[in-house]
Symmetry: C2
DNA sequence: CAGGATCCAGGAAGATACTG
DNA sequence: CAGTATCTTCCTGGATCCTG
């Protein structure tokens, strides 16, 4: 129970806030999740990834993969073929996200159902899902 | 265990993805979390909120509060005093976020520790936390 | 093939001023 | 007090072209 009253000093509170922001930050952006998902099929090469998630430009893909590398979710392997082959694959550590993602997914599903049941339109969600 | 291999069809996968995106969306942005946190102290008025989280402009605060209302995390109450008094307070439903936030917070803390231990600088996190 | 370089568009957020 | 209106700025991400 994060941030509950009994433990609600400024210090613990802002520490908690920062931790949550850390977590949100590594998952945020348009491509992080799709990238992680597609790599769960196994190692893939740059162009394979690009095809599999469609419409991502090389620049963005490159940047996103570097982010994922920095956070140790993805490992980049270079093979000295000609021309060189580069593969990206998920690390074991990336599995630590499973619990978080699972929680987000469950909450997200019930939230959408709730809004629909209440016959409220939810522009914020519609925007995201098209 | 989201997105695990055995259940990895395109349909279930993209449904899961969308649910996660829904959840991320409602928590995202610069002000959603700070706002929820400050309202955990109890109902507050517009200007009180503004002072308590510092540096948010009325326009942004107004918009963020409307988002939180749409998602049913916050309820707006108008009192016919002169001048009118408006309070914002958390709904019970907002408590459903506790589990999610808790999971995010725990993961965020261990992730930061991990990166520090590995002596990797983590630009992505440093940017966020200053 | 695997990316980097350059330029550009759109949305989120800030500054400032104003109103019922 | 509780916002709205307008203008500007910044930042993410996209388009296009280029190279070891």
């Amino acid at each position: 129970m994060a941030f509950r009253k009994e433990n609600h000093t400024k210090e613990t509170c802002s520490a908690s806030l920062n931790a949550v922001k850390d977590a949100l930050y590594v998952l945020n952006g348009k491509w992080k999740l799709p990238l992680i998902l597609t790599l769960q099929d196994g190692p893939k090469r740059f162009n394979e990834i690009q095809k599999s998630i469609g419409d991502i430009t090389p620049k963005i893909l490159s940047k996103e993969l570097k982010d994922l590398e920095l956070n140790e979710f993805v490992i980049r392997k270079v093979f000295s073929t000609t021309p060189v082959t580069v593969t990206y694959e998920l690390t074991e550590y990336s599995g630590s996200l499973d619990r978080v993602i699972d929680e987000l997914r469950n909450w997200g599903m019930q939230h959408r159902e709730r809004l629909v049941m209440n016959r409220k339109t939810a522009p914020v969600l519609e925007e995201v899902l098209g």
